[in-house]
Subunit: 166 residues, 2 copies
């Protein structure tokens, strides 16, 4: 059961994101999901947009760097808490997270990338902009704290083409 | 009267932003405000963050490019509607918008840049990251529609250090 939501009604998005969300990408016959805790939601280029971040070292980087779309699924009410923890510490290079963590991909309405079933919010996003970070323009404390190994994020801006609650 | 709000309670922010908000910057003894309609709010680098965009051609660009902070003031309930329209079409190069549009800057709690009085939401932000846009990584339709003259935006990411309603 899908219940459409307004992208502007984002309180649940911003409250759950720091606790964990699934970023899911399917591209070139490969599918992976990873846990994210950082991102944003806004109105850019006259469109509703979600921004997500993926480090170069991640298996997801290999998929999303050329993908046309991604999805963000945010379990609410404590759903899939264990799975969020595991999907954030294990790499899709070494395992099929869907099989091993019993995660259920569900076909999306408008994107190739599926969403993750499990009682929450789902955002289907078409990539409209992406950018590598510029380390010289970043606050020094943040740089030292999160990027001392040089493993920066790439920022992906996706137009929200569908959003709903299951 | 200030009433503290939660940065995550962002529905009013995202509903008003497309209708107009004031981006205000004070730096080097100069003060200006401009109307913005694009931006985002999120959780990045373990901090609440607002991202705003300023084109190179804007007078505000000359102030914000080296400024340590900025504020975003969003009038609600139709307040300052006329002023939002005017502040978006006139340049601070040619006029003092505060005097000519009867806008009232109000000292901020934690930033040098003041907020704009007028019945709405206020976000005080410390610049922690900024980045020029990469035209080659942008969706072609968006590029043609908004940047055909090459006047791109610079993106400013500000940590929300205070947010409240007046």
């Amino acid at each position: 059961m899908r219940e459409n939501i307004s992208w502007q009604d984002s309180r649940a998005f911003l409250e759950q994101l720091p606790r964990g969300a699934f970023l899911t990408v399917s591209h070139g016959g490969r599918l992976n999901t990873m846990t994210i805790g950082w991102g944003s939601i806004g109105h850019i280029w006259q469109r509703p947009v979600i921004m997500v971040m993926v480090r170069y070292s991640r298996h997801t980087h290999q998929l999303i760097k050329d993908a046309p779309d991604f999805t963000v699924s945010l379990p609410l009410d404590g759903n899939l808490k264990k799975e969020l923890g595991q999907a954030g510490t294990k790499s899709g290079r070494d395992m099929d997270k869907f099989a091993e963590l019993s995660l259920a991909p569900q076909p999306a309405l408008k994107t190739v990338s599926p969403v993750i079933k499990g009682g929450g919010l789902h955002y289907e996003c078409r990539v409209i902009y992406k950018q590598e970070m510029d380390e010289n323009a970043l606050d020094a404390e943040i740089r030292d704290q999160y990027y001392s190994d040089g493993d920066y994020h790439v920022l992906y801006y996706g137009e929200i083409v569908a959003c709903y609650r299951d």
